[in-house]
């Protein structure tokens, strides 16, 4: 077998048992790896109805077949589990170097089961696997955790994925952090890790990932790297200004969500843009493993010293969405989230909900006591409550449940800008309606990454589509993006390669590495299979399409108040039935037998 090792680790923390299991070529041709392998295992082995924070939930950490090879951006891995935030599947993806290292150690995945009696960490050195005591690291920040483990093992090579205090305290949006500042951020994967008393996974490996045709693979990779280097985005805007180059673009297009999505135009956007960051704080850019793009930011400021980030999403979530424009405070808040192990998008989204609830008079001063009031633009809120919520102290305990549960506890869930209880990212769908359909139908809830319709609707990739067009063409493009993203995730690459590469390019790299001769359609079928399998998981977990494939009322009923999208809402009702139909699903959004059988997943219905 090439690309994949054909084996994965199963670690049961309740019993301490470690097993090696096989993953054969036939399965790989169906699921590729990473996100694909993970959903296959979860459907096969786990009841989707399990309590996400119980020992019965499984946490799967999986790089893909191209992770650890020289394929551009081949350092990614996914953390797949049932989310405590949504109650549905989540596949949280991260870059850095950890995913590649796990491949160097010779593993396609680690499946973590059960729950340790006391805090532990898993140490993997090639074929040797140890479950070690982590009592002395419990409670530590992410950087301290990495430092302590590194000292203990005494190896410089080590790559570490860990949780901070937020994961330990089961914050619903705790992240798994690796290599300091890279996050498998969304939907509470860190809380699942915390619920298992698992503080970290430390990995070092000495193997070379085998590829089928070395020469051909090398030439293919070289060609794709050149494509990326020559692409004006992947080779220009992204390395120079980072993802936050989007701040001005999205704001000028009138969909930069401001003050909990009350409007799509932020008066101070420039001050928190990639351009401003590059001028004020940037010292260099930072690539993940084997990445020719290098969109990561290394910033320096007096309060926190040298730090990484924030990305576009984090800048917005901790900035405009709270009416905050001070970039230094945003960078500092982002640093705190990394150290405490928090997803920045949901942290910001939850605080924004609190601010709107306060503005509308539902959260009262008496309830907050001496703590800072949730006023728009109050930077004190950022630093104070980020710490409190990660530790579940005072009002922080309520915030730790996420924006939806917070708003619901005041009887007003409509002030949570979330889908399937996952806080939405930095694009107001009233300015990109196909993207809105993406939010509503995303398997893990309010997420942009798995169906980035901003690409065609705003940026013009692969070609420009009208953001307010809701025709079948738009719906078909969304389906293609969902399937393609699933494929890229399963391959172990970064989604930013889509700025420069198309579906055929992934086919070329995969065929050369894996020794297969599949067509682009075959590969997209794998993406489609993964998407449908995740949908089946969600339906079995209790997804009600009518209730859950939806958007906050604000986007459906309150027209955008100003800017270029003034007067627009999302015409979700017009698109959703056609989405189901074009997916080959039933009118009520279920995967029918014929579709499941066509995709070879009938057994899971």
């Amino acid at each position: 077998m090439y690309g994949n090792w054909g084996r994965f680790l199963r670690v049961n923390l309740s019993t301490g048992e470690v097993k090696v299991e096989e993953y054969d070529e036939e399965l790989a041709k169906k699921w590729l790896g990473s996100r694909g392998l993970a959903i296959y295992l979860l459907l096969k082995e786990m009841d989707p109805k399990v309590d996400p924070l119980s020992p019965e939930n499984k946490l799967i950490i999986a790089p893909g077949p191209l992770s650890g090879t020289s394929a551009p951006t081949g350092g990614r891995y996914n953390v797949v589990t049932k989310s405590p935030a949504t109650g549905f599947i989540t596949m949280s993806n991260s870059g850095g170097y950890f995913g590649a290292e796990l491949k160097f150690a010779g593993w396609d995945a680690i499946v973590v089961e059960g729950k340790a009696e006391k805090p532990v960490y898993i140490y993997v050195k090639d074929d040797d696997v140890e479950i070690r005591d982590a009592s002395h690291i419990w409670g530590k920040l992410v950087s301290e955790t990495e430092e302590t483990i590194r000292k203990e093992i005494g190896s410089k090579r080590l790559r570490i994925a860990s949780i901070g205090p937020a994961g330990e305290n089961l914050v619903k949006f705790a992240a798994v952090m690796n290599d300091g500042h890279r996050a498998a951020g969304r939907a509470g994967v860190g809380a699942v890790m915390g619920s298992k008393n698992l503080k970290a996974i430390a990995v070092e490996g000495s193997k070379t990932v085998p590829v089928a045709d070395k020469q051909k693979f090398m030439l293919t990779v070289r060609e794709k790297i050149n494509k990326l280097r020559n692409d004006p985005v992947a080779g220009g805007g992204l390395p120079k200004f980072g993802t936050a180059v989007l701040v001005n673009i999205i704001n000028e297009n009138g969909l930069y969500p401001t003050r909990n999505f009350q409007t799509g135009v932020y008066e101070h956007a420039y001050e928190q843009s990639g351009e401003a960051m590059a001028a004020k704080y940037l010292i260099r850019n930072q690539p993940c493993y084997a990445c020719p793009i290098g969109c990561g930011r290394v910033n320096k400021l007096p309060t926190v010293g040298v730090t990484e980030g924030p990305e576009y999403e984090s800048t917005w979530a901790l900035g405009a969405n709270l009416g905050i424009n001070d970039l230094a405070s945003i960078i500092e808040a982002n640093h705190m989230c990394d150290e405490l192990g928090l997803d920045t998008i949901s942290t910001g989204g939850t605080l924004a909900t609190a601010m709107e609830l306060y503005e509308k008079g539902f959260i009262k001063d008496e309830e907050l006591g001496d703590a800072p009031p949730f006023r728009w633009g109050n930077t004190e809120v950022l630093h104070y409550y980020i710490d409190k919520l990660a530790r579940r102290e005072g009002f922080g305990d309520k915030l730790a449940e996420g924006g939806y549960r917070l708003a619901e506890s005041y009887g007003h869930p409509e002030y949570s800008m979330s889908v399937k209880k996952l806080e939405l990212p930095a694009y107001d769908p009233r300015g990109a309606e196909g993207h809105g359909l993406g939010y509503a139908t995303n398997n893990r809830g309010g997420c942009h990454i798995k169906n980035y319709m901003i690409s065609p609707e705003i940026l013009g990739y692969p070609y420009k589509m009208d953001p307010h067009d809701v025709s079948d063409d738009k719906v078909k493009m969304l389906i293609l993006f969902q399937d393609l993203s699933a494929l890229i995730d399963a391959a172990g690459l970064c989604l930013f390669t889509t700025f420069g590469l198309g579906a055929d390019d992934y086919r070329d790299m995969l065929n050369a590495a894996l020794g297969w001769d599949l067509s682009t359609e075959d590969y997209l079928k794998i993406g489609e299979r993964i998407w449908n399998a995740e949908r089946i998981f969600n339906l079995k977990a209790g997804l009600d399409p009518e209730r859950d494939d939806s958007l906050p009322k604000r986007f459906l009923e309150e027209p955008m108040p100003e800017g270029p999208n003034k007067g627009h809402v999302v015409r979700l009702k017009e698109m959703l039935p056609r989405y189901y139909k074009l997916r080959g699903w039933t009118e009520d959004g279920r995967v029918p037998k014929e579709k499941a059988e066509e995709l070879g997943i009938g057994e899971f219905l």
Partner: protein, 82 residues
């Protein structure tokens, strides 16, 4: 006069973020900018995003999109993220 906002690498080329330029349509505006700022044209060779009052000219009349007094034109070199 139209108000022109430039972004990313274009700021270095013009030395300013906001310019005021008289022009009857987008094509004419670009010609004026090309003539005034060396390097501006090259920067847009691989593509651009031009908005008139926040609307992409691809969905208006392209380079023929007429401009009126006080219109705001935003010009970006190719850029993306996520």
């Amino acid at each position: 006069m139209v108000k022109v906002k430039v972004f990313a690498t274009l700021i270095e080329i013009t030395g300013r973020r906001i310019l005021e330029v008289p022009a009857g349509n987008v094509g004419e505006l670009l010609e004026k900018l090309y003539a005034t700022y060396p390097g501006f044209k090259e920067e847009l060779e691989k593509g651009f995003m031009i908005l008139v009052n926040g609307k992409n000219i691809e969905h208006l009349q392209g380079l023929q999109t007429p401009l009126e007094e006080n219109d705001v034109v935003s010009i970006f070199p190719p850029a993306g993220g996520g």
